[in-house]
């Protein structure tokens, strides 16, 4: 009798497991066999060209963006979140590289990247790609930690996250796309191919980083702090696991390094804090926080964003013991 109950229970667990495997959520739209249309009837993915009315536009130099319409549709409440006029037409109908009267002369660059958008009275305030994404990572605790203390530098690398190469695209197709003459079928085919080619970033393995860092440059009243370096990276990685936005935008394996080692070039052996932050005010760079403040601002800034409640910010000895207490311990 007892055995039968056990057997039934095991069978139930097995069934549940199988069901989980069968009906689990499909993973993003990385796969090439994704449906061509979404719930709203729009294409699942498309290539957004830098549309221009001029025949020899300088926009040819700018790479187009592959936009995953399906994943965005699932994340926003309504079509008007992006199609702010309420009319679901392509952005480039009103916003071109040069700007048009229909779009109130807001050019494509601003429509996609502006973050200083004035609040509209009595109507919906439009959002750009960048302003909406910035809002998301400021709100989510798992993102807000790093993004509280570091702002991505607006450099070529930053642009290249979205403005990627589309391997199958020809020069003619690009020109046609800019002029708005490219066939829809061709556009979709290009987008699908690009999405299929995109691979999620392979984050740096925490085991390849330093295990512990002893911060002892400033020891005086307090004993050196033993910073568990590896644990922090593991934790950061765990927090954003399965986050599609993070996977899409974290483009380098060293992305976590660049949070704390914020101005160091992307590298697996970035420079130390002390190489820029001197213990007392640096006369050449007076605006730079001195070392002690740099540590505290960086640690507490991230913990604030991640809503880490402990240790309290005023509990000094939680991170570094009093020097006198440590001496007694060693005796």
């Amino acid at each position: 009798m007892r055995n039968r109950t056990k057997l039934l229970l095991l069978a139930a667990i097995a069934l549940a497991g199988a069901a989980c495997l069968l009906f689990r959520e499909p993973k993003g739209l990385m796969a090439a066999d994704a449906p061509e249309h979404t719930e709203s009837g729009a294409q699942a993915a498309m290539v957004l060209f830098p549309a221009s009315d001029k025949t020899n536009s300088g926009a040819v130099g700018m790479k187009p963006v592959v936009f995953n319409h399906k994943i965005h549709e699932g994340k926003v409440q309504e079509c008007e979140s992006c199609h702010h006029t309420g009319d679901p037409v392509p952005c480039t109908t009103c916003h071109t590289v040069e700007g048009k009267a229909e779009g109130n002369f807001v050019n494509l660059e601003r429509a996609m990247h502006a973050t200083n958008i004035a609040q509209r009275k009595g109507q919906r305030t439009p959002e750009s790609c960048v302003s909406c994404h910035e809002k998301i990572y400021a709100q989510r605790a798992e993102c807000a930690g790093c993004h509280n203390i570091v702002k991505p530098t607006r450099n070529d690398q930053w642009c290249a996250v979205c403005h990627t190469d589309i391997p199958t695209m020809t020069k003619e197709q690009l020109v046609e796309g800019i002029q708005g003459k490219l066939d829809t079928e061709e556009n979709i085919a290009l987008a699908q191919a690009a999405l299929a080619a995109k691979k999620p970033v392979d984050y740096l393995d925490p085991k390849r980083t330093k295990y512990r860092v002893v911060i002892d440059t400033l020891k005086d009243k307090y004993a050196p702090n033993v910073f568990n370096h590896q644990r922090h990276i593991v934790s950061l990685k765990r927090h954003i696991k399965g986050n599609a936005l993070a996977d899409a935008f974290h483009s380098t394996p060293e992305v976590f390094c660049q949070t704390c080692h914020h101005h160091s070039p992307a590298s697996q052996t970035p420079s130390k804090c002390v190489s820029c932050h001197t213990p007392s005010i640096d006369k050449k760079h007076p605006g730079r926080p001195p070392l002690k403040a740099a540590y505290h601002l960086q640690c507490m800034g991230c913990h604030d964003g991640q809503l880490v409640k402990r240790p309290r910010k005023t509990d000094c000895t939680a991170c570094h013991k009093l020097a006198t207490a440590q001496q007694e311990e060693s005796k």
Binding site: Q119, P286, A293, L297
Partner: protein, 367 residues
């Protein structure tokens, strides 16, 4: 000196003094307004960074050799009460509730560009130094505590416990340390760089850059840039994350936000001292002219009284002389017509009648 002469003199003196004020406004102002030192230092207090650890209080206590407080500096519960600076605590950190979030702010002397304490002190104890500090020299202090009343930030404290020679005590901007090339004690001790030391002009740039980089984090208002005519110590406050965005540099709209942090935006852009310089500047004129004015008025009244009395007496004398002349004429006529005896009798009767009338008149006057 008669009335006309006196009035002419007074009038011309008034015109001269008015002209004098109007003709030399620059020199008059220069003598009142404190010099603005372009390279003076200041401190930017970023309340979004302050964690309320009281390290600044501890450092202030140590470097200035102040008496140890009853509660130790690692007791952070004291921040919950709204403490004020005093003679033994030149700086305090208080906890404020700002839009439902705890925000800490350090209180100390703001080291105004044109200090109100200095304008109120008649013993000239306070001095704005070229390095930005407002220093106090108690050698001439009379203990009137006008400075404490004048200060819009309630910064100076008084040694009430001393029976002999109590003095005013307040933050010195660590002037002795600045002179040695060291940072103020509190700034050096701050573990969060919530206190940034630098030239005031640079600090305003730093503050603007921080606001521009984090528009959602900061209230777009540098407290102390213009408040109370500008202060060397300035404060940045966090923005209300849920409320509407406040337009830049708007003291009216930023006021309710900053009030939660115990900061008053109603102090105006004008230095506090300028409110009193005008009134106090007229004191010497009043001292010089009022004795002349009232002395003259007194003299004039007295003189008029004397003249009036003299005129009255003259009239009386003339009237008496007239009566006497009439009596003499009448007596002479009687003498011519009726002889000596009748004239004598008539003169006697008339003299008696006059005497009787005079005494009756005097009686009437007396009554």
């Amino acid at each position: 000196m008669n009335r006309r002469k006196f009035l002419t003199l007074l009038g011309s003196a008034g015109v001269v003094s008015a002209l004098g004020n109007a003709a030399t406004p620059s020199t008059a102002e220069a003598s009142h307004v404190f010099p603005y030192y372009p390279d003076s230092y200041g401190v930017l207090h970023d309340t979004t960074r302050c964690v309320g650890c009281r390290r600044c209080e501890e450092a202030c206590n140590t470097v200035n050799a102040l008496p140890k407080p009853d509660k130790p500096f690692d007791d952070l519960s004291v921040c919950n009460t709204k403490r004020r600076t005093s003679a033994t605590q030149w700086t305090v950190v208080n906890k404020y509730e700002m839009n439902g979030k705890a925000v800490f702010r350090k209180l100390q002397c703001f080291h105004c560009q044109d200090p109100a304490c200095a304008s109120a002190c008649f013993a000239k104890c306070f001095q704005k130094q070229p390095d930005g500090s407002v220093t106090y020299n108690g050698s001439q202090c009379v203990g009137c505590r006008y400075c404490m009343i004048a200060c819009p930030f309630y910064a100076p404290g008084f040694e009430y416990n001393l029976a002999w020679d109590p003095l005013v005590k307040k933050c010195t901007f660590c002037k002795p340390r600045l002179d040695k090339g060291e940072l103020p004690g509190c700034v050096e001790a701050c573990p969060m760089e919530a206190l940034t030391f630098g030239r005031r002009t640079d600090l305003i740039k730093v503050a603007r850059a921080r606001i521009a980089d984090n528009p959602d984090k900061y209230l777009d208002y540098i407290y102390g840039e213009h408040d109370a005519g500008g202060t060397a110590w300035m404060v940045l406050a966090p923005a209300n994350p849920k409320g509407p965005k406040i337009p830049p540099e708007n003291p009216v709209l930023a006021g309710p936000e900053l009030k939660q942090l115990g900061l008053d935006t109603h102090l105006g852009n004008q230095p506090m001292g300028e409110l009193t310089y005008g009134a106090l500047g007229t004191v010497p004129m009043i001292v010089a002219f009022w004795p002349v004015l009232f002395g003259g008025a007194y003299g004039m009244t007295k003189r008029r009284e004397a003249m009036h009395k003299q005129a009255q007496e003259q009239t009386k004398r003339e009237a008496r002389e007239d009566v006497q002349a009439a009596v003499d004429a009448a007596v002479r006529k009687i003498q011519e017509t009726e002889g000596e005896g009748a004239a004598d009798r008539a003169r006697k009767a008339m003299a008696e009648a006059l005497k009787a009338r005079e005494s009756a008149g005097k009686h009437g006057e007396g009554a």
